[in-house]
Symmetry: D2
Subunit: 136 residues, 4 copies
Protein backbone atom coordinates (compact mmCIF):
# COMPACT_ATOMS: atom_id res chain seq x y z
CA UNK A 1 0.00 0.00 0.00
CA UNK A 2 1.21 3.50 -0.91
CA UNK A 3 -0.32 6.28 1.12
CA UNK A 4 -0.01 10.03 1.40
CA UNK A 5 -1.64 12.82 3.32
CA UNK A 6 -2.52 16.20 1.83
CA UNK A 7 -3.73 19.11 3.96
CA UNK A 8 -5.78 22.02 2.72
CA UNK A 9 -8.14 24.66 3.99
CA UNK A 10 -11.61 25.55 2.72
CA UNK A 11 -12.09 29.07 1.35
CA UNK A 12 -15.07 31.06 0.11
CA UNK A 13 -14.40 29.93 -3.47
CA UNK A 14 -15.28 26.37 -2.38
CA UNK A 15 -18.58 27.12 -0.64
CA UNK A 16 -22.01 27.11 -2.22
CA UNK A 17 -25.43 28.50 -1.36
CA UNK A 18 -26.03 25.82 1.30
CA UNK A 19 -22.95 27.08 3.14
CA UNK A 20 -21.00 23.89 2.47
CA UNK A 21 -18.31 22.79 0.02
CA UNK A 22 -19.74 22.47 -3.51
CA UNK A 23 -19.66 18.81 -4.47
CA UNK A 24 -17.25 18.96 -7.40
CA UNK A 25 -14.56 20.72 -5.37
CA UNK A 26 -13.66 17.41 -3.72
CA UNK A 27 -12.36 16.23 -7.08
CA UNK A 28 -9.95 19.18 -7.07
CA UNK A 29 -8.76 18.19 -3.60
CA UNK A 30 -8.40 14.60 -4.85
CA UNK A 31 -6.28 15.82 -7.75
CA UNK A 32 -3.94 17.75 -5.46
CA UNK A 33 -3.77 14.73 -3.14
CA UNK A 34 -2.81 12.28 -5.90
CA UNK A 35 -0.25 14.70 -7.34
CA UNK A 36 1.42 14.76 -3.92
CA UNK A 37 1.05 10.97 -3.53
CA UNK A 38 2.86 10.41 -6.83
CA UNK A 39 5.50 13.02 -5.97
CA UNK A 40 6.16 11.25 -2.66
CA UNK A 41 7.37 8.18 -4.57
CA UNK A 42 9.37 10.09 -7.14
CA UNK A 43 6.72 10.19 -9.86
CA UNK A 44 6.21 13.92 -10.41
CA UNK A 45 3.39 14.41 -12.91
CA UNK A 46 5.57 16.90 -14.82
CA UNK A 47 8.29 14.25 -15.27
CA UNK A 48 5.74 11.67 -16.39
CA UNK A 49 4.46 14.13 -18.99
CA UNK A 50 7.96 15.08 -20.11
CA UNK A 51 8.48 11.40 -20.90
CA UNK A 52 5.40 11.56 -23.10
CA UNK A 53 2.78 9.94 -20.87
CA UNK A 54 -0.50 11.25 -19.51
CA UNK A 55 -2.88 9.81 -16.90
CA UNK A 56 -6.38 11.01 -17.75
CA UNK A 57 -9.21 10.10 -15.42
CA UNK A 58 -11.49 7.40 -16.81
CA UNK A 59 -13.73 7.08 -13.79
CA UNK A 60 -14.38 9.28 -10.75
CA UNK A 61 -16.53 8.64 -7.72
CA UNK A 62 -17.28 10.42 -4.45
CA UNK A 63 -19.56 9.63 -1.51
CA UNK A 64 -20.40 12.58 0.72
CA UNK A 65 -20.76 11.75 4.39
CA UNK A 66 -20.69 15.10 6.19
CA UNK A 67 -20.40 18.61 4.88
CA UNK A 68 -17.33 20.81 5.27
CA UNK A 69 -17.59 24.54 5.82
CA UNK A 70 -15.68 27.73 5.22
CA UNK A 71 -12.33 27.87 7.05
CA UNK A 72 -12.34 24.15 7.88
CA UNK A 73 -8.97 22.48 7.69
CA UNK A 74 -9.22 19.10 6.04
CA UNK A 75 -6.86 16.29 5.21
CA UNK A 76 -7.07 14.05 2.16
CA UNK A 77 -5.53 10.61 2.52
CA UNK A 78 -4.83 9.08 -0.89
CA UNK A 79 -3.90 5.45 -1.34
CA UNK A 80 -2.83 2.96 -4.00
CA UNK A 81 -3.60 -0.59 -2.90
CA UNK A 82 -2.50 -2.50 -5.96
CA UNK A 83 -1.52 -1.97 -9.56
CA UNK A 84 -2.07 -4.60 -12.21
CA UNK A 85 -3.14 -4.29 -15.79
CA UNK A 86 -3.59 -1.03 -17.67
CA UNK A 87 -5.40 1.08 -15.10
CA UNK A 88 -4.36 2.82 -11.94
CA UNK A 89 -6.89 3.22 -9.13
CA UNK A 90 -6.41 5.73 -6.33
CA UNK A 91 -8.66 5.90 -3.26
CA UNK A 92 -9.29 9.03 -1.19
CA UNK A 93 -10.62 9.87 2.25
CA UNK A 94 -11.30 13.48 3.19
CA UNK A 95 -11.39 14.11 6.94
CA UNK A 96 -12.09 17.17 9.05
CA UNK A 97 -8.94 17.81 11.07
CA UNK A 98 -10.66 19.30 14.14
CA UNK A 99 -12.60 16.14 15.01
CA UNK A 100 -11.12 13.49 12.72
CA UNK A 101 -14.51 12.63 11.23
CA UNK A 102 -14.93 11.49 7.64
CA UNK A 103 -16.28 14.09 5.19
CA UNK A 104 -16.07 12.27 1.88
CA UNK A 105 -14.53 9.19 0.33
CA UNK A 106 -14.00 8.31 -3.28
CA UNK A 107 -11.70 7.07 -5.98
CA UNK A 108 -10.38 7.86 -9.42
CA UNK A 109 -9.29 5.43 -12.10
CA UNK A 110 -6.69 6.45 -14.64
CA UNK A 111 -5.48 5.04 -17.91
CA UNK A 112 -2.24 5.89 -19.68
CA UNK A 113 -2.06 7.73 -22.98
CA UNK A 114 0.61 9.25 -25.16
CA UNK A 115 0.68 12.92 -26.19
CA UNK A 116 -1.96 12.36 -28.83
CA UNK A 117 -4.38 10.89 -26.32
CA UNK A 118 -3.92 7.35 -27.63
CA UNK A 119 -4.10 4.68 -24.90
CA UNK A 120 -0.82 2.99 -24.12
CA UNK A 121 0.41 0.43 -21.63
CA UNK A 122 1.75 1.85 -18.37
CA UNK A 123 5.39 2.75 -18.98
CA UNK A 124 8.04 0.55 -17.34
CA UNK A 125 9.48 3.31 -15.11
CA UNK A 126 6.02 3.96 -13.71
CA UNK A 127 5.16 0.29 -13.13
CA UNK A 128 8.43 -0.49 -11.45
CA UNK A 129 8.32 2.55 -9.17
CA UNK A 130 4.78 1.75 -8.03
CA UNK A 131 5.54 -1.93 -7.44
CA UNK A 132 8.71 -1.16 -5.57
CA UNK A 133 6.71 0.97 -3.12
CA UNK A 134 3.74 -1.41 -2.94
CA UNK A 135 6.12 -4.18 -1.87
CA UNK A 136 8.40 -1.94 0.17
Amino acid sequence: MIENQYLTRIYYRDIDQMGVVYYNRYFEYFEAARTELLRSIGLEVTLIEQRGYYLPVVSAHCDYHRSAQFDDEITIISRIDSFMGARLRIDYQATLISDDRLLASGYTEHCFTNKDGKPTRPPGFFRSRIREHLNG
Copy 2:
Protein backbone atom coordinates in the same frame (compact mmCIF):
# COMPACT_ATOMS: atom_id res chain seq x y z
CA MET B 1 -39.04 8.10 -17.05
CA ILE B 2 -38.44 11.85 -16.81
CA GLU B 3 -35.87 13.21 -19.24
CA ASN B 4 -34.42 16.56 -20.19
CA GLN B 5 -31.75 17.88 -22.50
CA TYR B 6 -29.34 20.67 -21.59
CA LEU B 7 -27.01 22.25 -24.15
CA THR B 8 -23.79 24.04 -23.36
CA ARG B 9 -20.53 25.02 -24.97
CA ILE B 10 -16.99 24.39 -23.74
CA TYR B 11 -14.88 27.45 -22.99
CA TYR B 12 -11.27 28.01 -21.99
CA ARG B 13 -12.21 27.97 -18.30
CA ASP B 14 -13.14 24.28 -18.70
CA ILE B 15 -9.97 23.09 -20.41
CA ASP B 16 -6.85 21.78 -18.72
CA GLN B 17 -3.24 21.24 -19.66
CA MET B 18 -4.06 18.16 -21.77
CA GLY B 19 -6.28 20.37 -23.94
CA VAL B 20 -9.47 18.62 -22.79
CA VAL B 21 -12.23 19.36 -20.29
CA TYR B 22 -10.97 19.04 -16.71
CA TYR B 23 -12.70 16.07 -15.11
CA ASN B 24 -14.61 17.84 -12.36
CA ARG B 25 -16.28 20.25 -14.77
CA TYR B 26 -18.69 17.52 -15.86
CA PHE B 27 -20.22 17.68 -12.40
CA GLU B 28 -20.99 21.37 -13.05
CA TYR B 29 -22.67 20.44 -16.33
CA PHE B 30 -24.60 17.72 -14.49
CA GLU B 31 -25.78 20.27 -11.94
CA ALA B 32 -27.04 22.64 -14.64
CA ALA B 33 -28.70 19.68 -16.40
CA ARG B 34 -30.57 18.49 -13.29
CA THR B 35 -31.63 22.03 -12.42
CA GLU B 36 -33.25 22.26 -15.86
CA LEU B 37 -34.69 18.74 -15.55
CA LEU B 38 -36.41 19.67 -12.30
CA ARG B 39 -37.57 23.00 -13.72
CA SER B 40 -39.11 21.19 -16.69
CA ILE B 41 -41.53 19.42 -14.32
CA GLY B 42 -42.30 22.47 -12.21
CA LEU B 43 -39.79 21.81 -9.45
CA GLU B 44 -37.58 24.90 -9.56
CA VAL B 45 -34.75 24.47 -7.06
CA THR B 46 -35.44 27.97 -5.72
CA LEU B 47 -39.03 27.02 -4.93
CA ILE B 48 -37.94 23.79 -3.25
CA GLU B 49 -35.54 25.79 -1.09
CA GLN B 50 -38.16 28.43 -0.28
CA ARG B 51 -40.29 25.62 1.11
CA GLY B 52 -37.38 24.72 3.38
CA TYR B 53 -35.94 21.70 1.59
CA TYR B 54 -32.47 21.08 0.17
CA LEU B 55 -31.17 18.27 -2.03
CA PRO B 56 -27.47 17.83 -1.25
CA VAL B 57 -25.50 15.31 -3.27
CA VAL B 58 -24.67 12.15 -1.31
CA SER B 59 -22.98 10.29 -4.14
CA ALA B 60 -21.52 11.37 -7.48
CA HIS B 61 -20.06 9.28 -10.26
CA CYS B 62 -18.70 9.90 -13.75
CA ASP B 63 -17.19 7.64 -16.40
CA TYR B 64 -15.17 9.41 -19.06
CA HIS B 65 -15.40 7.87 -22.53
CA ARG B 66 -13.99 10.50 -24.91
CA SER B 67 -12.55 13.91 -24.25
CA ALA B 68 -14.25 17.17 -25.15
CA GLN B 69 -12.31 20.18 -26.35
CA PHE B 70 -12.50 23.94 -26.41
CA ASP B 71 -15.48 25.30 -28.37
CA ASP B 72 -17.23 21.93 -28.53
CA GLU B 73 -20.99 22.08 -28.19
CA ILE B 74 -22.26 19.33 -25.95
CA THR B 75 -25.61 18.14 -24.74
CA ILE B 76 -26.34 16.63 -21.35
CA ILE B 77 -29.31 14.30 -21.15
CA SER B 78 -30.48 13.89 -17.55
CA ARG B 79 -32.98 11.26 -16.52
CA ILE B 80 -34.97 10.06 -13.51
CA ASP B 81 -35.99 6.44 -13.92
CA SER B 82 -37.72 5.83 -10.63
CA PHE B 83 -38.17 7.38 -7.21
CA MET B 84 -38.79 5.33 -4.12
CA GLY B 85 -37.53 5.74 -0.62
CA ALA B 86 -35.55 8.68 0.68
CA ARG B 87 -33.07 9.20 -2.13
CA LEU B 88 -33.33 10.64 -5.61
CA ARG B 89 -31.04 9.30 -8.33
CA ILE B 90 -30.41 11.22 -11.55
CA ASP B 91 -28.47 9.79 -14.50
CA TYR B 92 -26.56 11.85 -17.06
CA GLN B 93 -25.15 11.35 -20.53
CA ALA B 94 -22.90 13.99 -22.08
CA THR B 95 -22.71 13.83 -25.87
CA LEU B 96 -20.76 15.79 -28.45
CA ILE B 97 -23.33 17.45 -30.69
CA SER B 98 -21.25 17.40 -33.88
CA ASP B 99 -21.04 13.60 -34.09
CA ASP B 100 -23.49 12.41 -31.43
CA ARG B 101 -20.83 10.34 -29.67
CA LEU B 102 -20.83 9.79 -25.93
CA LEU B 103 -18.31 11.85 -23.92
CA ALA B 104 -19.20 10.96 -20.36
CA SER B 105 -21.91 9.27 -18.36
CA GLY B 106 -22.64 9.38 -14.67
CA TYR B 107 -25.13 9.86 -11.90
CA THR B 108 -25.76 11.77 -8.71
CA GLU B 109 -27.75 10.62 -5.70
CA HIS B 110 -29.47 13.18 -3.49
CA CYS B 111 -31.05 13.09 -0.09
CA PHE B 112 -33.43 15.65 1.36
CA THR B 113 -32.58 17.91 4.28
CA ASN B 114 -34.15 20.85 6.04
CA LYS B 115 -32.47 24.26 6.39
CA ASP B 116 -30.26 23.03 9.20
CA GLY B 117 -28.92 20.18 7.09
CA LYS B 118 -30.91 17.54 9.00
CA PRO B 119 -32.10 14.66 6.79
CA THR B 120 -35.83 14.58 6.18
CA ARG B 121 -38.23 12.49 4.13
CA PRO B 122 -38.87 13.77 0.61
CA PRO B 123 -41.68 16.35 0.90
CA GLY B 124 -45.08 15.40 -0.44
CA PHE B 125 -45.19 18.05 -3.19
CA PHE B 126 -41.89 16.75 -4.54
CA ARG B 127 -42.85 13.07 -4.41
CA SER B 128 -46.19 13.61 -6.06
CA ARG B 129 -44.77 15.80 -8.83
CA ILE B 130 -42.07 13.26 -9.67
CA ARG B 131 -44.48 10.30 -9.61
CA GLU B 132 -47.00 12.12 -11.73
CA HIS B 133 -44.35 12.61 -14.43
CA LEU B 134 -42.86 9.13 -14.05
CA ASN B 135 -46.26 7.63 -14.71
CA GLY B 136 -47.32 10.29 -17.20
Copy 3:
Protein backbone atom coordinates in the same frame (compact mmCIF):
# COMPACT_ATOMS: atom_id res chain seq x y z
CA MET C 1 -17.73 49.66 -32.28
CA ILE C 2 -18.09 45.88 -32.28
CA GLU C 3 -20.67 44.52 -29.86
CA ASN C 4 -22.10 41.17 -28.90
CA GLN C 5 -24.55 39.81 -26.37
CA TYR C 6 -24.05 36.55 -24.48
CA LEU C 7 -26.78 35.04 -22.29
CA THR C 8 -26.21 32.65 -19.44
CA ARG C 9 -27.90 31.43 -16.29
CA ILE C 10 -26.50 31.29 -12.76
CA TYR C 11 -26.22 27.84 -11.18
CA TYR C 12 -25.25 26.55 -7.75
CA ARG C 13 -21.62 26.17 -8.86
CA ASP C 14 -21.43 29.98 -9.18
CA ILE C 15 -22.86 30.90 -5.79
CA ASP C 16 -20.92 31.40 -2.59
CA GLN C 17 -21.69 31.50 1.11
CA MET C 18 -23.29 34.97 0.87
CA GLY C 19 -25.83 33.52 -1.56
CA VAL C 20 -24.48 35.55 -4.48
CA VAL C 21 -22.20 34.90 -7.45
CA TYR C 22 -18.58 34.44 -6.31
CA TYR C 23 -16.57 37.35 -7.63
CA ASN C 24 -14.17 35.52 -9.91
CA ARG C 25 -17.00 33.82 -11.83
CA TYR C 26 -17.67 37.03 -13.73
CA PHE C 27 -14.32 36.57 -15.44
CA GLU C 28 -15.56 33.21 -16.74
CA TYR C 29 -18.69 34.90 -18.10
CA PHE C 30 -16.47 37.57 -19.65
CA GLU C 31 -14.39 34.87 -21.33
CA ALA C 32 -17.46 33.20 -22.83
CA ALA C 33 -18.75 36.61 -23.93
CA ARG C 34 -15.53 37.59 -25.72
CA THR C 35 -15.26 34.17 -27.37
CA GLU C 36 -18.73 34.76 -28.84
CA LEU C 37 -17.89 38.37 -29.73
CA LEU C 38 -14.85 37.24 -31.71
CA ARG C 39 -16.82 34.38 -33.30
CA SER C 40 -19.48 36.87 -34.43
CA ILE C 41 -16.92 38.59 -36.63
CA GLY C 42 -15.34 35.42 -37.96
CA LEU C 43 -12.45 35.24 -35.51
CA GLU C 44 -13.00 31.89 -33.81
CA VAL C 45 -10.41 31.46 -31.05
CA THR C 46 -9.67 27.95 -32.35
CA LEU C 47 -8.81 29.33 -35.80
CA ILE C 48 -6.61 32.04 -34.28
CA GLU C 49 -4.75 29.38 -32.32
CA GLN C 50 -4.44 27.10 -35.35
CA ARG C 51 -2.66 29.95 -37.07
CA GLY C 52 -0.21 30.02 -34.19
CA TYR C 53 -1.46 33.01 -32.20
CA TYR C 54 -2.70 33.28 -28.62
CA LEU C 55 -4.41 36.16 -26.80
CA PRO C 56 -3.47 35.88 -23.13
CA VAL C 57 -5.02 38.32 -20.69
CA VAL C 58 -2.56 40.96 -19.49
CA SER C 59 -5.01 42.95 -17.39
CA ALA C 60 -8.46 42.17 -15.96
CA HIS C 61 -10.85 44.41 -14.07
CA CYS C 62 -14.35 44.13 -12.66
CA ASP C 63 -16.58 46.51 -10.70
CA TYR C 64 -19.46 44.87 -8.86
CA HIS C 65 -22.63 46.94 -8.68
CA ARG C 66 -25.36 44.52 -7.59
CA SER C 67 -25.24 40.86 -6.73
CA ALA C 68 -26.68 38.09 -8.88
CA GLN C 69 -28.30 35.03 -7.37
CA PHE C 70 -28.97 31.41 -8.15
CA ASP C 71 -31.19 30.87 -11.20
CA ASP C 72 -30.86 34.45 -12.40
CA GLU C 73 -30.61 34.87 -16.14
CA ILE C 74 -27.99 37.40 -17.08
CA THR C 75 -26.67 38.91 -20.25
CA ILE C 76 -23.09 39.98 -20.90
CA ILE C 77 -22.58 42.70 -23.47
CA SER C 78 -19.00 42.73 -24.73
CA ARG C 79 -17.60 45.52 -26.83
CA ILE C 80 -14.48 46.54 -28.74
CA ASP C 81 -14.32 50.31 -29.15
CA SER C 82 -11.01 50.66 -30.92
CA PHE C 83 -7.89 48.70 -31.77
CA MET C 84 -4.54 50.32 -32.19
CA GLY C 85 -1.11 49.18 -31.20
CA ALA C 86 -0.26 45.79 -29.74
CA ARG C 87 -3.07 45.31 -27.25
CA LEU C 88 -6.74 44.50 -27.58
CA ARG C 89 -9.17 45.84 -24.98
CA ILE C 90 -12.63 44.38 -24.52
CA ASP C 91 -15.27 45.93 -22.26
CA TYR C 92 -18.10 44.02 -20.57
CA GLN C 93 -21.41 44.81 -18.93
CA ALA C 94 -23.32 42.11 -17.06
CA THR C 95 -27.02 42.83 -16.67
CA LEU C 96 -29.86 41.01 -14.93
CA ILE C 97 -32.39 40.14 -17.61
CA SER C 98 -35.49 40.36 -15.41
CA ASP C 99 -35.08 44.07 -14.60
CA ASP C 100 -32.30 45.19 -16.94
CA ARG C 101 -30.19 46.50 -14.09
CA LEU C 102 -26.41 46.46 -14.18
CA LEU C 103 -24.70 43.75 -12.11
CA ALA C 104 -21.05 44.22 -13.01
CA SER C 105 -18.87 45.98 -15.52
CA GLY C 106 -15.27 45.41 -16.42
CA TYR C 107 -12.66 44.92 -19.08
CA THR C 108 -9.82 42.68 -20.16
CA GLU C 109 -6.71 43.63 -22.08
CA HIS C 110 -4.99 41.06 -24.27
CA CYS C 111 -1.63 40.88 -25.95
CA PHE C 112 -0.66 38.54 -28.78
CA THR C 113 1.88 35.74 -28.42
CA ASN C 114 3.09 32.84 -30.50
CA LYS C 115 2.93 29.20 -29.38
CA ASP C 116 5.96 29.62 -27.16
CA GLY C 117 4.36 32.50 -25.29
CA LYS C 118 6.62 35.08 -26.94
CA PRO C 119 4.88 38.44 -27.56
CA THR C 120 4.22 39.21 -31.20
CA ARG C 121 2.49 41.95 -33.15
CA PRO C 122 -1.20 41.36 -33.83
CA PRO C 123 -1.40 39.24 -37.00
CA GLY C 124 -2.64 40.93 -40.16
CA PHE C 125 -5.78 38.78 -40.54
CA PHE C 126 -6.83 39.73 -37.01
CA ARG C 127 -6.13 43.45 -37.39
CA SER C 128 -7.93 43.73 -40.69
CA ARG C 129 -10.98 41.81 -39.51
CA ILE C 130 -11.34 43.97 -36.42
CA ARG C 131 -10.87 47.21 -38.33
CA GLU C 132 -13.31 46.19 -41.02
CA HIS C 133 -15.99 45.70 -38.35
CA LEU C 134 -15.02 48.80 -36.35
CA ASN C 135 -15.51 50.91 -39.45
CA GLY C 136 -18.44 48.88 -40.80
Copy 4:
Protein backbone atom coordinates in the same frame (compact mmCIF):
# COMPACT_ATOMS: atom_id res chain seq x y z
CA MET D 1 1.20 48.62 6.69
CA ILE D 2 -0.24 45.18 7.39
CA GLU D 3 1.29 42.39 5.35
CA ASN D 4 0.95 38.64 5.07
CA GLN D 5 2.37 35.87 2.92
CA TYR D 6 0.32 32.95 1.61
CA LEU D 7 1.94 29.99 -0.13
CA THR D 8 0.21 27.66 -2.54
CA ARG D 9 0.97 25.27 -5.35
CA ILE D 10 -0.47 25.17 -8.85
CA TYR D 11 -2.40 22.03 -9.81
CA TYR D 12 -4.03 20.76 -13.00
CA ARG D 13 -7.35 22.31 -12.00
CA ASP D 14 -5.73 25.76 -12.36
CA ILE D 15 -4.20 25.29 -15.80
CA ASP D 16 -5.81 26.08 -19.13
CA GLN D 17 -5.24 25.14 -22.74
CA MET D 18 -2.21 27.45 -23.05
CA GLY D 19 -0.53 25.44 -20.29
CA VAL D 20 -0.65 28.34 -17.83
CA VAL D 21 -2.83 29.36 -14.91
CA TYR D 22 -6.31 30.45 -16.10
CA TYR D 23 -6.67 34.16 -15.42
CA ASN D 24 -9.53 34.07 -12.93
CA ARG D 25 -7.75 31.62 -10.64
CA TYR D 26 -5.57 34.44 -9.31
CA PHE D 27 -8.67 35.91 -7.69
CA GLU D 28 -9.08 32.64 -5.78
CA TYR D 29 -5.47 32.88 -4.60
CA PHE D 30 -6.12 36.51 -3.64
CA GLU D 31 -9.15 35.43 -1.60
CA ALA D 32 -7.14 32.82 0.30
CA ALA D 33 -4.36 35.37 0.83
CA ARG D 34 -6.66 38.03 2.28
CA THR D 35 -8.42 35.48 4.50
CA GLU D 36 -5.02 34.63 5.99
CA LEU D 37 -4.04 38.32 6.19
CA LEU D 38 -7.17 39.09 8.21
CA ARG D 39 -6.68 35.99 10.37
CA SER D 40 -3.12 37.09 11.14
CA ILE D 41 -4.47 40.19 12.89
CA GLY D 42 -7.29 38.40 14.70
CA LEU D 43 -10.04 39.14 12.19
CA GLU D 44 -11.20 35.67 11.14
CA VAL D 45 -13.81 36.03 8.40
CA THR D 46 -16.03 33.56 10.26
CA LEU D 47 -16.00 35.77 13.36
CA ILE D 48 -16.75 38.87 11.30
CA GLU D 49 -19.73 37.09 9.76
CA GLN D 50 -20.92 35.78 13.13
CA ARG D 51 -21.10 39.40 14.25
CA GLY D 52 -23.36 40.07 11.28
CA TYR D 53 -20.95 41.74 8.85
CA TYR D 54 -19.88 40.77 5.33
CA LEU D 55 -17.12 42.15 3.11
CA PRO D 56 -18.23 41.69 -0.49
CA VAL D 57 -15.83 42.67 -3.26
CA VAL D 58 -16.83 45.89 -5.02
CA SER D 59 -13.83 46.09 -7.32
CA ALA D 60 -11.22 43.57 -8.44
CA HIS D 61 -8.16 44.06 -10.60
CA CYS D 62 -5.23 41.95 -11.77
CA ASP D 63 -2.25 42.63 -14.02
CA TYR D 64 -0.55 39.53 -15.41
CA HIS D 65 3.20 39.82 -15.81
CA ARG D 66 4.44 36.27 -16.34
CA SER D 67 2.59 32.99 -16.54
CA ALA D 68 2.69 30.31 -13.86
CA GLN D 69 2.62 26.63 -14.73
CA PHE D 70 1.56 23.31 -13.31
CA ASP D 71 3.41 22.34 -10.12
CA ASP D 72 4.83 25.83 -9.58
CA GLU D 73 4.98 26.96 -5.99
CA ILE D 74 3.88 30.54 -5.64
CA THR D 75 3.56 33.03 -2.85
CA ILE D 76 0.92 35.73 -2.57
CA ILE D 77 1.86 38.79 -0.53
CA SER D 78 -1.25 40.69 0.56
CA ARG D 79 -1.09 44.15 2.06
CA ILE D 80 -3.28 46.82 3.62
CA ASP D 81 -1.65 50.24 3.36
CA SER D 82 -4.34 52.39 4.89
CA PHE D 83 -7.97 52.28 5.95
CA MET D 84 -10.16 55.34 5.93
CA GLY D 85 -13.77 55.76 4.99
CA ALA D 86 -16.15 52.96 4.13
CA ARG D 87 -14.00 50.79 1.89
CA LEU D 88 -11.13 48.43 2.51
CA ARG D 89 -8.48 48.01 -0.18
CA ILE D 90 -6.11 45.06 -0.23
CA ASP D 91 -3.15 44.76 -2.61
CA TYR D 92 -1.63 41.50 -3.81
CA GLN D 93 1.59 40.37 -5.41
CA ALA D 94 1.95 36.81 -6.69
CA THR D 95 5.53 35.63 -7.03
CA LEU D 96 7.11 32.42 -8.30
CA ILE D 97 9.07 30.98 -5.40
CA SER D 98 11.82 29.34 -7.46
CA ASP D 99 13.14 32.59 -8.92
CA ASP D 100 11.32 35.28 -6.94
CA ARG D 101 9.93 36.90 -10.09
CA LEU D 102 6.57 38.63 -10.16
CA LEU D 103 3.71 36.70 -11.79
CA ALA D 104 0.74 38.95 -11.14
CA SER D 105 -0.25 41.95 -9.09
CA GLY D 106 -3.68 43.29 -8.25
CA TYR D 107 -6.08 44.56 -5.67
CA THR D 108 -9.58 44.10 -4.35
CA GLU D 109 -11.82 46.72 -2.76
CA HIS D 110 -14.43 45.68 -0.23
CA CYS D 111 -17.40 47.38 1.32
CA PHE D 112 -19.22 46.31 4.47
CA THR D 113 -22.77 45.00 4.51
CA ASN D 114 -25.12 43.42 7.01
CA LYS D 115 -26.73 39.99 6.56
CA ASP D 116 -29.29 41.38 4.15
CA GLY D 117 -26.64 42.81 1.87
CA LYS D 118 -27.34 46.38 2.95
CA PRO D 119 -24.21 48.57 3.05
CA THR D 120 -23.10 49.59 6.51
CA ARG D 121 -20.23 51.50 8.02
CA PRO D 122 -17.20 49.40 8.96
CA PRO D 123 -17.87 48.04 12.46
CA GLY D 124 -15.85 49.48 15.32
CA PHE D 125 -14.07 46.24 16.22
CA PHE D 126 -12.85 45.93 12.63
CA ARG D 127 -11.71 49.55 12.32
CA SER D 128 -9.87 49.53 15.60
CA ARG D 129 -8.10 46.24 14.91
CA ILE D 130 -6.91 47.40 11.50
CA ARG D 131 -5.74 50.79 12.79
CA GLU D 132 -3.94 49.23 15.71
CA HIS D 133 -1.91 47.08 13.30
CA LEU D 134 -1.40 49.88 10.74
CA ASN D 135 0.15 52.02 13.44
CA GLY D 136 1.85 49.13 15.27
